[in-house]
């Protein structure tokens, strides 16, 4: 457990010192959402109709954008192989790094989301559910993304490749995330999609560190 805390603290400290990471991700999120009214037109009803989907898609892309760096720097400077050789198992290393990554990038997105929801004219009934669904969904995105980020280490054209690999795997999170918010806006019970999101989160928490560690092992061979 000390190993987990050590990695978490180091990654957070690094993000704090050199990091524009959080700011960049949130800025991308904001700009991506703002493009939609410009593209679709400012008509309030149309915007309200597409708001949950637009917010989720933009959040998904923001997470994707930040994922490439998850292991990349540590891989390049040799830290990753030393961590792989340190007493904590590689699965624990992955989990600590993903948690740090989520705190730095996922959490700011969730804080920014309600503000953007107002810009998108989203009905107020959906706000609580939007935050709740993002709280369950974005960690799952980070975990799934960790597997992809581990697999593309050291490849040519890492970024685009990462998008191609993991965006299809993001689809269930997107569907249930949007489903929860739309249910709340429409006055339906949002229990089912929320439970499904929770199940996805639990499953990714159990499986993805293992998959990412397998990916890292073969990258370090």
């Amino acid at each position: 457990m000390t190993g987990f805390r050590a990695i978490l603290e180091r990654d957070l400290r690094l993000a704090l010192r050199q990091g524009m990471d959080s700011v960049m991700v949130v800025m991308f999120f904001v700009i991506a959402v703002v493009l939609f009214p410009l593209g679709v037109g400012p008509e309030p009803n149309t915007l309200a109709r597409i708001a949950p989907g637009v917010l989720w898609v933009a959040a998904l892309l923001s997470v994707l954008l930040s994922l490439e760096r998850l292991f990349h720097n540590d891989f390049e400077d040799g830290s990753l192989e030393l961590m792989a050789l340190s007493p904590p198992s590689l699965e624990v290393v992955v989990l600590a790094k993903v948690l740090a990554h989520w705190l730095v990038t996922g959490l700011p997105l969730i804080i920014a989301a309600p503000v953007l929801a107002i810009l998108m004219n989203m009905p107020a009934d959906g706000f609580a559910l939007l935050i709740l669904a993002l709280l369950l969904g974005t960690p799952a995105l980070s975990l799934i993304g960790a597997v992809g980020a581990a697999l593309v280490l050291g490849s040519r054209r890492g970024g685009v490749l990462l998008a191609l690999l993991i965006l299809p795997l993001f689809i269930p999170v997107l569907i249930f995330g949007v489903g929860a918010v739309e249910a709340a806006i429409g006055g339906f019970p949002a229990r089912a999609p929320l439970l499904l999101l929770g199940a996805i989160f639990a499953a990714t928490l159990a499986l993805c560190p293992w998959g990412a560690a397998a990916g890292l092992r073969q990258a370090l061979e």
């Binding site: 190993g3 050590a6 030393l82 050789l85 007493p87």
Partner: protein
Amino acid sequence: MDQFKGASLDCLRSTRPVFRGLDFDLPAGGALVLTGPNGSGKSSLLRLMAGLLPPAGGTLSWNGEPVAEDPDAHRARLAYLGHLDAVKPALTAAENLAFWAQLEGADPATAVGPALDALAIGHLADLPARFLSAGQKRRLNLARLGLGKAVLWLLDEPATALDVETISRLRDLIHRHRDGGGMVAVSTHSDLELKDAVNLDLGQYTVSAARAAAEETAA
């Protein structure tokens, strides 16, 4: 007494055979110096010893037990030094080292200071690592060796980018480690002059692709 042994080890990089049928025996307090031309697999052997690279054949054993059966215990007893320095420019030298100390389960408050002093970089402790020279970064990476509990040191070209004085400090560090029953495997071009070291020339285990193909056809 601890003993680290390798028996008839084979190594493949991608599909290229690097060496075959390599044996080594490293007793407590022992030193193994790996020599051989470029591409003979010095780095590969060290990575194989560390467990980063699975051997294509043969076994590594610790006190008679196969290492592969308990990788957790193996990681806990080794310290590996590769080509890369693993130094984070945004952290100070002391913070860099404290992180590795924590990972190894050592107490950073007591371990970091002496470890930095052992390589004469104690005065740089609070300097962000981005201001360190290449040699100083190398020393900071070497300082990890002084942190803790690792019995088995695996050093890949540790003398690179070091001045004469630091090389002698490194030698002292290794001697003290071996006097305490530790063991070290080191690949080197420049002579580190370790006393009672066993020399392992990897050149004799090199396999040519032609031979590998011929054997495969015969199999």
